[in-house]
């Protein structure tokens, strides 16, 4: 197995939903990635700083509690300012308040600069293959 690729994982804003984060971290590690898990209640700055400090190739944001729209705005811009404009950004969870048409939600987040947007209840195994592909990493974590 080659050199491990690093990703930053966290739950943004005033959100404390910890369970999915715990499982995601485990699943990403199982998939061979190095996971920097900044946990819940993570600010945009924490995401960006962690990514810079660890040379991460992707930022994986969770937002469960409904304030995602308010919390995620500007994250892409912050990353760009910090000089990591081409970092991969994924977001997933219960991304808006209430039940809304998924394509609307997806568009909102794509416009904010996220590369992939995942609906409520996404299982890790549904997202990880795409992540590995986007990272250019094969199944067990080695670089191509």
């Amino acid at each position: 197995m080659g050199h491990q690729v690093t990703v930053v994982l966290g739950v943004i804003g005033a959100d404390v939903h910890a369970v999915g984060n715990r499982i995601l971290a485990y699943a990403l590690e199982q998939a061979g990635l190095k996971v920097i898990n900044i946990g819940v209640l993570a600010s945009q700055e924490e995401f960006v700083n962690a990514a810079i400090e660890t040379g991460a190739k992707a930022i994986l944001v969770s937002s469960l509690y409904g304030h995602g729209e308010l919390d995620c705005r500007g994250l892409r811009e912050k990353a760009t300012e910090a000089g990591i404009s081409d970092i991969l950004m994924y977001v997933g969870g219960n991304l808006v308040v209430g039940k809304r048409e998924w394509h609307e939600v997806e568009e909102i987040y794509r416009k904010m600069g996220f590369d992939q947007v995942y609906p409520p209840g996404t299982m890790p195994e549904e997202a990880i293959p795409q992540l590995l592909k986007d990272l250019g990493v094969d199944g067990v974590g080695g670089m191509h």
Partner: protein, 490 residues
């Protein structure tokens, strides 16, 4: 004033002067604090009709042996909140109403809450996941309370709820959820237990002050904690401790909550032992005059996305609540897995629940060996947890609680908080009851540990796999995937 933070955390009724001094500071936390006038508030409460007073409604239910329904609900703006609550009352038939507070307010981030209010006005839909009561202030709260015919409770998740309590209680709410442990461990990352217990002593002292002046406010520790495979003895121990801490500050009316685990016998045993043990401890510590009722939360973990399946989960919660003879049940909605429910979906959850409660109100589960065994085990474990905290605190429960978390003799699974050691690991047994795979530092006797171990091993044999984290993960997903026990996927 500041002095009181430096002395050791103690479980002792706050001196009124000390309390009053702190109040001044608290009310400065946001401009709306200035609106609170406690004597005027007492008068306001005294003029309230009995039917709108939480404690009275609970007492009546307890007396007639019926289980009441209560939804969760809250939106950013006042008019919309009123419309929502009225709908849940009139169409959903809710017996008790909530006002769920948004997550910014819960973290005292009133500025962000203000942005949320403004954005909600602009977008014409709630951009907040609850009602920012502090920002709206006292008069708005009263508009809400007055707009409905049944009692209303503040439900939140706020480690420092001092200002929120001041404003909402003066605003006419007659019940207030939370506690120094239950609104810290599942809702925070870095707040110390001594900090949150102190802040909740304030809230309880405030409620005690209302009580001393003839106004009984209901208090409810948040039973389900992280809502995810929390073993009954852990949530029961924490609920009882919070109840005792509240009682010491003069709280006279307490509802103790428990979140459904899913196994009928275990859940009934849990709710029954919760009430029985709480009474026992309250008497032991001289709070025999506190009225204790119970709250059963329908499944608090991940829900199935499919609404038909969600109705099944809701119904099973309702069945358990009524067979456990809970005083009230908190109803979930068919939108649970997806997002904050529409008012229609919210009403649906209450209606389904009510249908079950009514159909089963005259039925009960007979006493059985299995039930009594489970009650005995839960009580034994719960006692061990509480006694250890008392021991660590050298007789002081507040201090003991702080030390118990430090020592990991109190620990909550999947908690975001660093205060919780995070060393225990729950898993279901072969019948779906929640057991402990890893006891961390919990002070359990060997016979208890053997009991859990054997129960889990039984499942392992059935599934032909070693119990471990994959089994736990399977259990976490199970209900949302249409099961209770997370059997290996094929």
């Amino acid at each position: 004033m500041k002095g009181c933070f430096l002395v050791h955390l103690r479980n002792m009724k706050w001196d009124l002067d000390e309390f009053s001094a702190m109040r001044k500071e608290v009310l400065l936390g946001w401009p709306t604090g200035a609106e609170v006038e406690i004597q005027e508030a007492l008068g306001y409460h005294k003029n309230m009709p009995e039917t709108k007073i939480f404690s009275d409604r609970l007492a009546k239910a307890e007396e007639s042996g019926v289980t009441l329904t209560q939804p969760r609900a809250g939106v950013a703006l006042v008019t919309e909140l009123i419309e929502l609550l009225r709908y849940l009352q009139d169409v959903g038939g809710a017996d008790l109403l909530p006002t769920t507070i948004d997550s910014y307010t819960r973290l005292n981030r009133y500025k962000e809450a203000q942005t949320g209010i403004e954005e909600s006005r602009t977008h014409g839909r709630s951009m907040l996941n609850g009602f920012p009561a502090v920002n709206h202030g006292l008069a708005a709260c009263r508009r809400v309370v007055e707009a409905v015919d049944v009692p209303v409770q503040v439900r939140h998740g706020t480690p420092d709820a001092r200002l929120l309590a001041e404003i909402t209680l003066a605003g006419g709410f007659t019940a207030f959820e939370g506690g120094g442990i239950s609104y810290n461990i599942p809702y925070c990352k870095d707040v110390s237990i001594s900090r949150s217990i102190r802040d909740w002593q304030y809230v309880d002292r405030l409620v005690g002050f209302y009580a001393e002046n003839g106004v009984i406010i209901n208090r409810e520790p948040f039973g389900p904690l992280t809502g995810t495979l929390v073993p009954p003895s852990i949530s029961n121990a924490i609920a009882i401790i919070e109840g005792l801490l509240a009682a010491e500050q003069g709280v006279r009316n307490i509802s103790l909550g428990y979140g459904q685990c899913g196994n009928l016998i275990q859940d009934i045993a849990a709710l029954r032992s919760l009430k029985e043990l709480a009474k026992e401890y309250n008497i032991r510590f001289g709070y025999g005059n506190v009225a204790i009722t119970t709250v059963f939360h329908q499944w608090m973990g991940g829900f199935p996305q499919d609404e038909s399946k969600a109705y099944g989960v809701i119904s099973w919660g309702a069945v358990t609540a009524v067979l456990a003879k809970a005083t009230k049940v908190i109803a979930k909605t068919p939108h649970e897995a997806v997002g904050i429910p529409t008012k229609e979906a919210n009403a649906s959850g209450i209606l389904t629940t009510r249908q079950i409660l009514n159909m089963l109100r005259d039925q009960s589960l007979p006493e059985t060996k299995e039930l009594n065994e489970e009650i005995a085990i839960i009580k034994k474990e719960t006692r061990a947890l509480i006694e250890k905290a008392l021991e660590l605190g050298e007789g002081d429960l507040a201090l003991g609680t702080e030390r118990a978390f430090q020592a990991g003799t109190l620990d909550v699974p999947f908690a975001p908080s660093r205060v919780s050691a995070g060393k225990i690991m729950p898993v279901r047994d072969n019948y779906g009851a929640v057991r402990l795979l890893d006891f961390g530092n919990l002070p359990m006797e060997p016979d208890i540990k053997d009991y859990h171990r054997e129960k889990i091993a039984e499942r392992g044999r059935r599934e032909q796999r070693e119990p471990g984290f994959q089994m736990v993960i399977d259990d976490i997903y199970a209900i949302s995937k249409g099961m209770l026990v997370g059997r290996p996927r094929h």
